[in-house]
Amino acid sequence: MSVPEAIVHEHDVIVIGAGGAGLRAAIEASAGGAKVAVICKSLLGKAHTVMAEGGMAAAMGHVDDRDNWEVHFSDTMRGGGYLNNWVMAEHHAKEAPDRVRELEAWGAVFDRTKDGRILQRHFGGHRYQRLAHVGDRTGLEMIRTLQDHGVHQGLDVYMEMTVVALLTSGGRIAGVLGYDRERGRLRVWRAGAVILATGGIGKAYRITSNSWEYTGDGQALAYEAGAEIMDMEFIQFHPTGMVWPPSVRGLLVTEGVRGEGGALRNSEGRRFMWDDIPEAYKNQVALDEEEAWRYVCGDKSAQRPAELLTRDHVARCINREVKAGRGSPHGGVFLDIAWIKSRVPNGEEHIKKKLPSMYHQFMQLAGVDITKEAMEVGPTTHYCMGGVRVDGDTQMSSVPGLFAAGEVAAGLHGANRLGGNSLSDLVVFGKRAGEHAARWAKEHGAAPVDSAQVEAETARALAPFDRPNGENPYAIQSDLQDVMQRLVGMVRTKSELEEALGHLDSLRARAAKCGVSGHREYHPGWHTAIDLRNLLHVSEMITKSALLRPESRGGHFREDFPAKSEECTGFNLVARRADDGSMDIDRRQRAPIRPDLQAIIERMK
């Protein structure tokens, strides 16, 4: 291969991403005998997973022995509006407990029950206490455990390197092309199989709980390589982000606050979540605040507080209160945990113990003491249910040799993800992807890398330097975020979505002419120029898919079609690049659910 500038690495399996999914996949592929490389944009241990707070869902039944995989399965399907890939939902519910225990065996230290087992907490949409956790820093525990275990498994880790293209050969995967941040040099990694574990798309929006890494790279890379991308209309707006001060707007306030008894109130002091309870959950909500509090305390005969309904619903109720003029001073509503001091002895200490990083976050960033005052919260872009369409057993995409796991993959969560189901998703499907990618690489070997493709992609990546006087990429990114926030946010309508498509066209034209100057070393402006390509792809997928689903379900709400439609239960939307380079979205009929799984759902209704 004659590639003038690129440095070339050879491996069996490349994992893109070092969050929970990527690390778990790498560990498994390595255990399967593959030579594995992990590539990540940040330093090891800094991926988004580190920010996860509330916990990891697994039906271990330590706190409530009525729990089992069947209940978890049906909760996940109900939460997902029955658009989930039921094969994945079944694997997830069955395998999550083993993945939690495995983390413990690798050194993770979870909070404990009184009888010395892993403690589990309440979360929205989960029928029983199900989330294994460590205070409100569960993601840190997961990533550190995997990282510390992984570095002894012989992985090659390439930190602060960004993949800009997937290399294909005869329709299958052959490797990846990326740059290192330190020097700005292009590199080629050749491999038999590639696993995408790149996370989400939050940076397409102005208000988000996500970091700069979340520019939809994996979804866009896979799309450009010809893979199918599914369910992109389903974006989770987490109901509780910080709203004040402006510089922290969007920062997450964990659902764990509500799990510990936190009450959502409007400006009149009313717990407004009881004003609208969806049909599917009528039998699962407490009749009054008294019963709700008993539930928080673990009374098995009590039903949950209305605050612990699914995220899509809670977010819309908050929106409703704000629009009706019953919001808080800075355009949110109140989340009050301090009130529980009237119910628990030593309440202040109890709150600090259960929610230490929330205490810290509000104290330091907003000057608010959550043991004394209510927080102000409002919806924030949080999670992307859609992503690369994969086989439910192997996690392989429609491009042979290309796998995906974690947030970048679609299927498990359907139209809406339950809190805590992501961390378990990462390890359940990270492991599966690692295992199958290693096997696939062994069976199929490496493919030749096409040097013309490497050259073309290299030129494309470096093009912004040819336009030193081009527009500043930051300005374009910022305008894109405004368009998505304003027109493709939580509440959507046909005319606005169409307007957004128009804006996306002009943003794409501007992006093609943006430029940077200076040298390639550690150049955030250049990196932003490259991220823009990905953000534009995913924004178009979200907008077009949203137009083609004339109903409201989960993370997709259409003001012009506010109800669920029976017809729309039958399909998922799949985006794919057409031969002429344009984006095709088609309705894919869903495979009928296996009768025994349908029976479980019926039984749990």
């Binding site: 225990r101 413990e104 065996a105 050194g107 909070d111 570095v151 150049h523 955030p524």
Partner: protein, 260 residues
């Protein structure tokens, strides 16, 4: 660093603030002056981003979570090792420029970014976690909350390396080859005091990791953004174990018969 800040009341009023930001690389550099427009509630990282977006698109810095959870945005602010995302502008003196420079205990890469790879190498050498046989047939253990509390404190570490930066053994004496620094003493303590762990790291601590270099001055504890009591809870107990193991024949003998 549990600096209690006041509630933000006004975020509309803007005031200009002078910044001196270190620009350069391994070959050298200098402070350059910028002005940021600051509103209520802003943190230092917001100002750096503003400068990046509007004045210096090639200004290099690290960050991820913007919430004090990932430990990426470490820098020296007005000479003090701090997280840029957790340092509110209104906690800094208003009448003087804010200086922002990279961690000084590690080699410079560019601007605010330093080469922290040494830390990853050090960690790799520490004997990994090795659990005892499971207590239960399903492969799990019985462990009580009071047994894990100490270790959970250590496991709050976000690997920001601010403690490494402030430690004079590394910063001034450059003993990177002989001393693992406070972060990895905390890490070793988390393993040694893990209720399930069976490996022994005491000889390494004394001979390879240089625990003797630490004079318990507590500078590390003072900068830890996670408020880990690095010296009192991690280093001192480890030092005691080293003493027990190496200098006290009776404890040493007992140790052979008693599992830890």
């Amino acid at each position: 660093m549990s600096s209690h800040s006041h509630p933000v009341t006004d975020a509309t009023a803007t005031r200009p603030v002078e910044f001196k930001i270190w620009r350069g690389d391994a070959k050298g550099g200098a402070f350059e002056q910028y002005t940021a427009q600051v509103t209520g509630g802003m943190v230092v990282l917001d100002c750096i981003h503003q400068v990046q977006a509007e004045q210096a698109p090639d200004l290099a810095c690290r960050w991820n979570c913007k919430a004090g959870k990932c430990g990426s945005c470490s820098a020296e602010i007005n000479g003090k090792p701090s997280l840029m995302c957790m340092t509110r502008m209104d906690t800094l003196p208003a009448d003087q420029p804010v200086t922002v420079e990279p961690l000084r205990a590690f080699p410079s890469i560019r601007d605010l970014v330093t080469d922290v790879s040494w830390n990853y190498e050090v960690k790799k050498k520490i004997v990994p976690f090795k659990p005892r046989e499971p207590d239960r047939p399903d492969g799990t253990w019985t462990v009580f909350q009071e047994d894990v509390e100490r270790v959970q404190e250590f496991r709050k570490c976000i690997e920001c390396f601010l403690c490494q930066d402030v430690c004079h053994v590394l910063r001034d004496h450059h003993k990177h080859d002989e001393f693992i620094g406070p972060r990895f003493l905390v890490y070793t303590a988390a393993l040694e005091m893990h209720p399930l762990d069976t490996a022994d790291r005491i000889a390494d601590l004394k001979e390879r990791d240089g625990i003797g270099y630490c004079n318990i001055g507590k500078c590390c504890t003072k900068v830890c953004p996670e408020s880990i009591t690095i010296t009192d809870n991690a280093i001192i107990p480890l030092k005691e174990r080293v003493v027990d193991e190496f200098y006290d024949p009776i404890t040493r003998l007992l140790r052979i018969f008693r599992p830890k």
